[in-house]
């Protein structure tokens, strides 16, 4: 175990990490018959949470059959009447990413409670902006029918036109907003 004063291990070389990620994607196609994705799992969790909270407010188990999530055609897709709403490759992958990230952090000596932010901003402001950014990008990901994993990585690897358009739009959006947000990091 590392001591407190010991520096964390340097990050991987980004080209090596990129090749590793590509191999994971390839393995995913070979083993599971489909590519990677992240926002799909989050949608399942969100649909399940909306379903349960609404049923809970409606009186509990008896209100499950007609919850607001079941009536919503988009969310209902993720809530099968019979079977498991979480029985999906992306859910397992999502949990695996969390565990893998934690293990990698442990190995690199980077696990600690901290708010990563620029020198000119406060913790609170950084957290509020992160939550707002998360909401906007999650909404955008579902509008685009995929996120940077599902569209850019998986779709891009199959040379899908929509996925490349998505990726260019993400970069364009990022560059366009960078000037306005630069004070948060510089």
């Amino acid at each position: 175990m590392r001591h407190e004063d010991e520096r964390p291990a340097p990050y991987w070389n980004s080209y090596v990490a990129g090749i590793g990620l590509g191999l994971v994607l390839l393995a995913s196609f070979v083993v599971m018959g489909r590519g990677l994705g992240a926002s799909g799992a989050a949608t399942r969790f969100a649909s399940y949470a909306v379903h349960k909270v609404d049923a809970s407010l409606g009186g509990g188990t008896r209100a499950e059959a007609d919850s607001i999530a079941r009536r919503n055609s988009y969310m209902a897709e993720y809530l099968p009447r019979e079977g498991d709403p979480f029985d999906d490759f992306l859910v397992y992958m999502f949990l695996g990413v969390l565990v893998g990230g934690f293990v990698a952090g442990l190995g690199g000596g980077r696990v600690r409670f901290e708010t990563i932010r620029g020198p000119q901003t406060s913790d609170r402001r950084r957290l509020v902006l992160a939550v707002l950014g998360g909401i906007v990008s999650a909404y955008g990901a579902r509008l685009a029918r995929g996120c940077t994993s599902g569209q850019a990585l998986t779709g891009g690897a199959t040379l899908a036109l929509g996925s490349w358009a998505f990726m260019l739009a993400v970069f364009a959006g990022g560059y366009a907003l960078a000037w306005f947000m630069r004070k948060e990091w510089l």
Partner: protein, 424 residues
């Protein structure tokens, strides 16, 4: 000392502190940051307690109509909450008794606090099961007027009732500084606590119609989880009491105590890990379709997320990483381990209660009503699983019980001389 303002014979009770209780919630301009945070949290807890009280009244007067339980899932989150509170109380009592019985001196300074918290948790647990039973007053009367000695549930009430009285008696003796008597009561109370806790396990373990609960291992599993919950709660109690009072930092002797409790937590988590692994493997190896399907549901089925996330990551994974690594010397990491263990243990109870009932016990019938299979209406699929969603009333009652426990502990810590700083 508080005796100057206390009635004769009640030197351990501070009337002055009682009068100052409203100030616990009022944020004053000169308050240090940690006290402001503490007061804001208490204000939030008071609101939750009021919501819980309102929901409790609804449940008391309207009965099961306002709960999410059904004929096929009759035990819901209130039962899970009850199990959490009373088992944690037992664990707290047993761990604190280690100090008295085995002479572990480091635990002795927190004996009074532990007993008081165990007492409050018992009251919360009884409140939860009382509201779940729909007619708690009738229960109290019938338990005495018409006892069923062959019922584990009757014994549960009786043993936990005796345990509650023993806790109250021990607390009084500790406060009145009658240590030799307190030590004797503590020893007796430990025996009652083990009996009550394992008997609660037997309430589940004796139900042969519910294979997931049935078996002699269930009472032993309960006592193992009691030690885990009790140790984690004790760590949280020690940390939070220091953190939100005085200087707002953990006092050096308590840092040593936290490290000791961290080691204990590691030991108990190791035992629980073995239990969990062997229980799961035994379930998978069982010939019965019912038990196999429940364990399968937990490992790779509908309860996959709650099993791996709550039981695997929160209770066993993260805390074990902390207590087995170099982090075990860091107070913050130990408190994190205790917090996730406590939260996880609540969810483990919920999983345990629900998983035992998730498969329908109704026989599969043909179009003419003929019974041709008593096994659940599926083979190797997850269809046929009974849903359960707690109603907001149930959730509010549980949150109210959690709030009551914390608020009552804070008030007790102020008004009674539970620790060294309360006497100063």
């Amino acid at each position: 000392m508080t005796s100057a303002t206390s009635p004769r014979g009640l030197e351990w009770f501070s009337r002055r502190e009682l009068a100052k209780l409203p100030a616990l919630l009022r944020v004053a301009p000169g308050d240090p940051a940690h006290q402001v945070t503490g007061k804001r949290i208490l204000q939030g807890l008071l609101l939750l307690l009021l919501a819980g009280g309102a929901a409790g009244l609804l449940a008391f007067f309207r009965g099961h109509h306002v709960l999410g339980t059904t004929h096929e899932i009759p035990w819901g989150v209130l039962i899970a909450g009850y199990v959490f509170f009373v088992v944690s109380s037992t664990g707290l009592c047993l761990v604190s008794c280690l100090g008295h019985i085995f002479g572990i001196e480091i635990l002795e300074p927190i004996a009074k606090r532990s007993v008081f918290l165990a007492l409050v948790m018992m009251l919360s647990g009884f409140a939860l099961i009382g509201l779940e039973l729909e007619r708690p007053l009738l229960l109290m009367w019938m338990a005495v007027a018409s006892p069923n000695l062959s019922s584990p549930i009757w014994w549960m009430g009786m043993l936990y009732g005796v345990y509650l009285l023993a806790l109250a008696g021990e607390l009084y003796l500790l406060l009145a500084r009658k240590e030799p008597w307190a030590r004797r009561v503590c020893q007796l109370k430990s025996i009652v606590a083990v009996a009550a806790n394992t008997n609660l396990g037997f309430v589940f373990g004796s139900l042969h119609g519910r294979p997931f609960w049935f078996g002699g291992a269930t009472p032993v599993y309960f006592i193992a989880t009691a030690f885990v919950s009790g140790t984690a709660l004790m760590m949280l109690m020690v940390y939070l009491t220091d953190r939100f009072s005085g200087e707002g930092t953990v006092r050096p002797p308590n840092e040593v105590l936290l490290r000791f409790l961290g080691k204990l937590l590691g030991l108990f988590l190791g035992i629980l890990l073995l239990f969990t692994v062997w229980r799961a493997l035994a379930g998978l190896a069982s010939g019965g379709e019912h038990l196999f399907q429940v364990v399968r549901s937990l490992l790779v089925g509908p309860l996959f997320v709650s099993f791996w996330l709550f039981e695997g990551l929160l209770v066993l994974g993260l805390p074990l990483v902390v207590v087995l690594s170099g982090w075990r010397t860091r107070t913050g990491a130990l408190v994190f381990a205790a917090a996730v263990t406590t939260l996880g243990m609540f969810l483990v109870r919920y999983n345990f209660v629900y998983a035992g009932q998730m498969l329908s016990l109704r026989p599969l019938t043909g179009p003419m009503g003929e019974i041709f299979d008593y096994s659940p209406p599926f083979k190797g699929t997850v269809a046929g699983i009974l849903p359960y969603t707690p109603s907001w009333v149930e959730i509010a009652i549980v949150l109210g019980a959690v709030s009551f426990t914390i608020l009552a502990y804070v008030v007790g810590n102020k008004v009674l001389t539970l620790g060294e700083e309360a006497e100063g």
